[in-house]
């Protein structure tokens, strides 16, 4: 049932078993999974069923380093940011859960094996079909195309599977709206989460609407699922009792913000003498049975362990014929390189060469200096705006270059050539920096309250009935898009609620 918060009488108090704040990928998944749990669920969404400017403006904030599009990178209406999601899905790799101490990357208090059953269910929810991600044989069987036989053990073919993309607010609207146990409050903004005097339990959620209505929800259990920036903002702004912010006794809330580092345009070029040697599914996104897939290249886990490297996903696309536009300086030698490669090939064909572009997403190092804080300015509801301070470091730059050099080794040994196009300067200039609109790490998960905001169950350390869902709990994030893992973790949390494990 949908309820417009703007019509709720002033001062109303609503009792509920479970309050879920935020109706995005995590919030809707949780509500949907709990729809038959015989507990009253209240899903609270800031926006309506469609986007509107005034609500979207509540996302505006400040940038403390790289000028970051805080309002444009997220959507604030039913379905959340899945309303403009690209649909790229891949699970994190085992190494992503292990941590790499030399880089300051903490281990998760979970393993990939722990998440595997939830990844399988996430695959259904994200409408990906039944294929395995990391087993290339079914893909080869279905397409007749073998993965690239790149020599060495540094770079391997992996697969993304694309969601249609699932617009959670549309696809699962009926499932949650028609469930007798679920009430969905639209146009309802949680402006403060209020705990008891000891800040050990959440008692009330203060709700405000842009029309001026104010009411309260009193949950037995509360799940914050508003995204990687907003989760931290709301905890920090909920400071009536715990003055540094709710759950922020160890000054961790908002810190360790992570974003995948990309670069505007391509980071490398690959020259091949034969345009047919890179299979179609590396360059395009074909439908295979019920799945839409794309092959990418990633460093192997062993290589990353050996070198203390950062993960990267490398996608390839056809750029142009050698010697064709653009006639820029870096491209000057392209025809010569292709001719050289052709000279090296036995059994020459009449096929033409090709220059491919390489785009990337790089795993970031979680840094306490990259963080969400509260700005001085306030939004239309009186809540302090968020201020995001984020800048990739030399570590990421070096890791990107090392990974591209590994790509060059692999392609070179196979008969291609790679031109690395990332500078090795010490600092990133702003125009060199790209990002994936992935907001992660600001309430990270750790068994140790001094290292993380939530425990392995997503429970805020020290607050018995407050849980956090979404990518803000990621202690590290690998190089792949977060939504698939967000959904898996949400399913896991719902299961734990249903079994009574979370109270």
């Amino acid at each position: 049932m949908f309820i417009d918060g703007r019509g709720v009488p002033q001062g109303t108090t609503i009792e509920t078993d479970i309050a879920i704040i935020g109706a995005g990928a995590a919030g809707i998944t949780l509500a949907r999974e709990l729809r038959d749990a015989k507990r009253q669920v209240t899903l609270i969404e800031s926006g309506g069923l469609e986007s509107d400017d005034a609500t979207q403006a509540l996302y505006e904030g400040e940038s403390g380093a790289v000028e970051y599009p805080l309002a444009e990178s997220r959507l604030r209406f039913f379905g959340g940011t899945t309303n403009h999601w690209g649909g790229w899905c891949r699970p994190l790799m085992p190494i992503d859960f292990e941590g790499r101490g030399a880089l300051g990357i903490p281990a998760w208090p979970l393993t990939r094996a722990d998440l595997n059953p939830y990844y399988r269910r996430s695959q259904q929810i994200c409408q990906l079909g039944a294929f395995d991600f990391d087993d290339w044989r079914p893909w080869q069987e279905k397409t007749g195309l073998a993965p690239l036989p790149l020599p060495g053990d540094e770079i391997a073919t992996r697969f993304f599977i694309y969601s249609p993309p699932t617009r959670f607010g549309e696809t699962y609207r009926d499932d949650v709206a028609n469930a007798a146990s679920i009430a969905i409050y639209l146009n309802s903004n949680v402006v403060e989460i209020l705990p008891d005097a000891a800040a050990h339990r959440i008692e009330r959620l203060k709700i405000a609407t842009l029309s001026g209505a104010v009411f309260e929800i009193r949950p037995k259990l509360c799940i914050l699922a508003t995204g990687g920036i907003e989760n931290a903002r709301l905890l920090l702004a909920s400071n009536s009792v715990q003055t540094t912010g709710l759950g922020n006794g160890n000054d961790l809330v908002g810190r360790y913000f992570m974003e995948h580092v990309t670069a505007p345009g391509q980071v490398a070029a690959i020259a091949m003498a034969d345009e047919t040697r890179i299979p179609y599914y590396y360059l395009h996104t074909p439908d295979v049975d019920s799945a839409s897939m794309r092959a990418i290249l990633m460093p192997t886990d062993d290589y990353l362990r050996r070198t203390n490297g950062l993960g990267i996903s490398l996608s390839i696309y056809e750029a142009h014929k050698p010697g064709a536009e653009p006639k820029t300086d870096p491209a000057r030698l392209e025809p010569s390189v292709v001719t050289l490669l052709r000279s090296m090939e036995a059994g020459k064909t009449a096929r033409s060469g090709m220059i491919y572009g390489v785009a990337c997403a790089l795993e970031p190092v979680p840094s306490p200096e990259n963080r969400v804080t509260l700005a001085q300015d306030r939004d239309a509801l009186g809540l302090p705006k968020s201020r995001l301070t984020w800048r990739p470091t030399r570590t990421e730059r070096d890791a990107m270059n090392r990974n591209l050099t590994a790509l060059a080794r692999a392609f070179g040994a196979w008969g291609g050539a790679v031109q690395v196009q990332v500078s090795d300067a010490a600092d990133w200039a702003d125009p060199e920096i790209g990002w994936g609109n992935h907001h992660m790490g600001t309430t990270r998960m750790s068994s140790d309250p001094k290292q993380g905001v939530v425990d392995a169950d997503g429970r805020v350390h020290g607050i018995a009935n407050l849980f956090i869902a979404g990518s803000s709990v990621f202690p590290s994030c690998g190089p792949v898009n977060p939504t698939f893992t967000i959904v898996a973790l949400a399913i896991r949390m719902a299961d734990h609620i249903k079994t009574g494990r979370l109270g």
């Binding site: 020599p151 060495g152 020259a271 870096p330 000057r332 030698l333 025809p335 010569s336 390189v337 001719t339 050289l340 052709r342 000279s343 090296m344 090939e345 036995a346 050099t405 060059a408 080794r409 692999a410 070179g412 040994a413 008969g415 050539a417 790679v418 031109q419 690395v420 196009q421």
Partner: protein, 127 residues
């Protein structure tokens, strides 16, 4: 101090340079290698910037190239298919061992770069 094989070969190459001009067998080898190139002029273009940047000498380059091929089992044959296959193996070995040369960002095997350098020297009439 031990004298490595590389030092020894470089010394031989330098002696060869000092003697001015290639022996007939070396000239044959150079010709056979250059014959692998589809387009000597473009290869020479690639080789020129590397040669000039690292102040490379023709005899040393030819000698190093021959050493790499010998390491792949070359015994001086000039059969192009066989030579090309050995070049491929040498290139793969370069990438495995990190013998990589960067030319305007392009990461090529040292063997490939040496072949291009050879083409450059030939284009200059130095060989």
């Amino acid at each position: 101090m031990t004298l490595s094989r590389r030092h020894l070969l470089t010394g031989i190459a330098l002696l060869s340079l000092w003697s001015r001009g290639l022996h007939a067998s070396e000239a044959d080898a150079a010709d056979a290698l250059l014959a692998l190139l589809d387009d000597r002029a473009t290869a020479a273009g690639l080789g020129s910037s590397w040669v000039q940047k690292d102040h490379l000498q023709p005899d040393a380059i030819l000698e190093q190239l021959q050493v790499r091929l010998r390491q792949q089992g070359w015994a001086g044959e000039v059969n192009p298919d066989h030579l090309r296959s050995l070049m491929g193996a040498a290139v793969a070995e370069d990438f495995r061992s990190g013998a990589i040369v960067t030319i305007e960002g392009w990461q090529v095997a040292r063997t490939q770069a040496e072949l291009c350098a050879l083409a450059y020297f030939a284009s200059q009439g130095i060989l």
